[in-house]
Symmetry: C2
Subunit: 156 residues, 2 copies
DNA sequence: TATTGTTATACTCTATAACTATA
DNA sequence: TATAGTTATAGAGTATAACAATA
């Protein structure tokens, strides 16, 4: 008798013939993305100093780029939804790095702006942020870096 | 007099001469990685069904691959530290998808294994997981997919 | 004693839904 | 009605530190 509907023990089963195609976690793009993101997060934490997270830095960098902005728009400009941007802004505000002001023309809105202290900190961190980008891409040569960024941008 | 140490207002300043190099958030690899990961997470949630997260699925897929494993080793095999794997295993155990047993030979260790229900669910989810990988890579042609995975693997 | 494994705690990011207020 | 924002809730990943068991 051959009851080959399914091997009772799955480990290390070789796909001999018409078996289910093997699913190897290590080859899945989602898993690899998580690993690469983890490595980036580690590099970020090591090099940034100043006890700030990648998303908090994204907000400070964007505010440096564009100046005071609506909280909601700031979220869209940093790829965070309303709840996420609120939490991030709250934490930055508690540390005095940003200030939140009512919008005179639309009382639903909040305007978020860097404080003087926040702008100063952004100036300090900016070169470190460049170093972080460089360190993250260090395993790749210049041509590969361009390729990678192009491919990732197609996927976002 | 020219007090050009620093422009008081930073927004939209053009890098005219020897100014600080511009830092554009949208061009930073860490930020793009977050966006791509977000898109993958959205696809995962839409297609997986069964109310399971990417990390939970990673654990189930790995247990399907290798069979019962030490909790700590399982964490290393799924790129999670000891605290993270514990939380994930706890949630899966609470739903009856994995069981946690003491190791007879080393009482520090816990053995984690899929339950029958967990193995069944993994079988159901596996083709969907393949679809998720496919959908995540959909913007790329076959050559680009190979390139991307090679480049990402260099960076992990 | 040094190492390994597990657990407790705290913080952050994320998503969803319910709710308020405004245009 | 559609938009903007807040709040509550829940889940998830991470780091740190404390603790237990082993070599």
């Amino acid at each position: 008798m051959n009851t080959s509907k399914r091997a009772s023990a799955r480990p290390r089963e070789v796909a001999t013939a018409l078996e289910v195609p093997p699913y190897v976690l290590d080859d899945q793009v989602g898993y690899i993305l998580r690993q690469v993101s983890q490595r980036h997060a580690t590099i970020f934490t090591e090099l940034i100093g100043g006890d700030i997270t990648p998303t908090q830095w994204a907000v400070m960098a964007k505010l440096t780029e564009v100046g005071p902005t609506t909280q909601n728009l700031l979220g869209r400009q940093t790829s965070m939804d309303a709840a996420t941007i609120k939490g991030v802004v709250d934490r930055l505000a508690k540390r005095g790095l940003v200030e939140v002001l009512p919008d005179a023309t639309d009382s639903r809105r909040l305007i978020v702006a860097l404080t003087a202290s926040g702008a100063e900190m952004a100036d300090t961190l900016l070169p470190r942020a460049c170093t972080i980008t460089e360190a993250t891409l260090a395993p790749l040569d210049p041509a590969e870096r361009t390729q990678l960024l192009q491919l990732l941008c197609k996927m976002r």
